[in-house]
Amino acid sequence: MQKRLQTPKPLSAIQSYGLAVLSVSVALGGALVLEHYDFRGVEFPIFLFAIAITVWYAHMQAAVLAIVLGALAFNYFFTEPLHTLYVTRSELPYYFIFVLFASLLTWFTAVRRRVELELLRARDELEREVAERTQQASLLDLSHDSISVRGMDDVITFWNRGAEELYGWKGGEVVGKITTHHLLQTVFPAPLEDINAELLSTGRWEGEIEHTKADGSRVTVTSRWSLRRDEQGEAAAILETNNDTTERNRREHEIRTLNQQLGKRTTELETINKELEAFAYSVSHDLRAPLRHMVGFTELLKKHAASLLDDKSQRYVTIILESASRMGNLIDDLLAFSRIGRAETHMTMLSLQHLVQEAVAEVGQDAGGRNIVWRVGKLPDWHGDRSMLRLALVNLISNAAKFTQTRPQAEIEIACMDQKQDQVVVSIRDNGVGFDMKYANKLFGVFQRLHRPEEFEGTGIGLATVQRIVHRHGGRVWAESLVDKGATFFFSLSKSRESDL
């Protein structure tokens, strides 16, 4: 900011009177010295000068004091008779002229001084206002929105940085040179006359308009116009704030399209799901009935023809029955597996501890008189679908029981391996026959088995079911094992979030 004259601070009372005394004393001294060197008649202007200085820098009262002191000194030292306060008749006009002159000088100077002070104040005020306005204008420049002002003739009078950035023209290129609508090739949503009519009647207008940028590309903006009126109430200017909504509109369009696609996909999936359900239903009903007949009539055959069948035939009959029974189990397991994929999950808080105890009790009962040592660690409460998690635990624990059946003493341990804020890991460890880790990736596939049926029975769906359940709880399942050294199965559950399966 440029250096400028400050309004002088008024002197204090002591300083003012002091200045009066000092300036008169200096004038007196100076006049005496000059008189001594025979310069006559200079005392008059010297005293006036001293009074002028006093009145310029100090206030009126000090000036009056200076006049009085000056008049006394002038009278004492420079009017006949010298060195008395007596004024002779002939000197009286001279003396009066001095006092009158001094008073007039004081009055003029005081007036001029006051005017000058007022001017200074006015200038300061003006500068302050200009600074404030400049700052406000620079604030408008900071706005991301495009802000422009145009007169009623539509010629641009203000163009902020947001407008420069949005449209690509600098303020200097457009201000005062071109009309807004011509520059931006505005496409209005309604006739311009209607828009202007609304602007004039309400003072504002808002709508979506299309503009063309400097590079020729089109842009859609939400435009807000405000009318400024002058002191007489006449329309003076229009402030236009524009907000680029091209990208937003494009995204909205994209979201709408994606939503439509998603809706279509969902409908397709729902249809497929329904077909699957119908399929499962027909498997459950139609496939089981002939199987039941096979079993039923084979049993009846066995009974009725017992005396006619030789040993070999008897064995064939038995194999037919066993196979049919296996097929029955397969159908049941497959149905259970497909049901887990289809069923809604009912998430609640549940005690994993209780669930494991229930599963252990169920498996223990099926295992009959076997010698199994159970170790169940402390397990937390967790969020999940009770019946699904129970099925997963029963599958894993009955697996452990199955693959330890060749051991004189089976040991099965269920524990919580790791618990974090949003995840828990449960392990089921056994001392059974284990498996070769190179087949670990096959463990969880449907119908995948790592043992021959005569070694360990099973349909190969149990672990696939476990995996599906765990996935629906946003977790994963894995296993570690060494052949003949037992196996450990782990599964994790995450907190209250269903994965996208």
Partner: protein, 150 residues
């Protein structure tokens, strides 16, 4: 043996009919069994119309109802029975191959008295049918209007 109620079987599959009758016969429960082969025929029997115009006007002690039937299916038959003042007291047991939860729920909502899934295993099947026969035709006190035979 005390009084034996009449059992009405509604079953379209001849093999299932034969197996069921065999199972009942093993326990001498087959004497008073009537078999109808679809929902329409079952209702004809209950309303004494069509082929059953001339039968004595009494209700069976129990109705063993398959769900998947030609013409009118089991759930429709069940709904008709349970919404008819004269028939609603007849105990109805759904005997079906379907494990489906929606079938179970629909049956109970319509007021079925029991829901039994036919076991694949023959011995279990025989046992189930026998127990049903013994319970509903023999042990259970039938509602008034049912036919009983000493």
């Amino acid at each position: 043996m005390s009084t034996l109620g009449r059992i009405l079987i509604v079953e379209d599959d001849p093999n299932d009919v034969e197996l069921t009758l065999t199972a009942l016969d093993e326990y001498k429960l087959a004497n008073e069994v009537v078999v109808t082969r679809d929902g329409e025929e079952a209702l004809d029997y209950l309303y004494c119309r069509g082929n059953f115009k001339t039968r004595s006007n009494d209700n069976p002690a129990v109705l063993l109802l398959d769900l998947k039937l030609p013409k009118r299916d089991g759930l429709e038959v069940l709904q008709q029975i349970k919404s008819d003042e004269k028939l609603k007291m007849i105990p109805v047991v759904v005997l079906t191959s379907s494990h489906e939860e929606k079938d179970v729920v629909a049956s109970y909502k319509l007021g079925v008295n029991a829901y039994v899934v036919k076991p694949v295993d023959f011995h279990e099947f025989v046992n189930a049918v026998k127990e049903l026969g013994v319970f509903w035709a023999l042990i259970n006190e039938s509602p008034p209007g049912s036919m009983k035979k000493n």
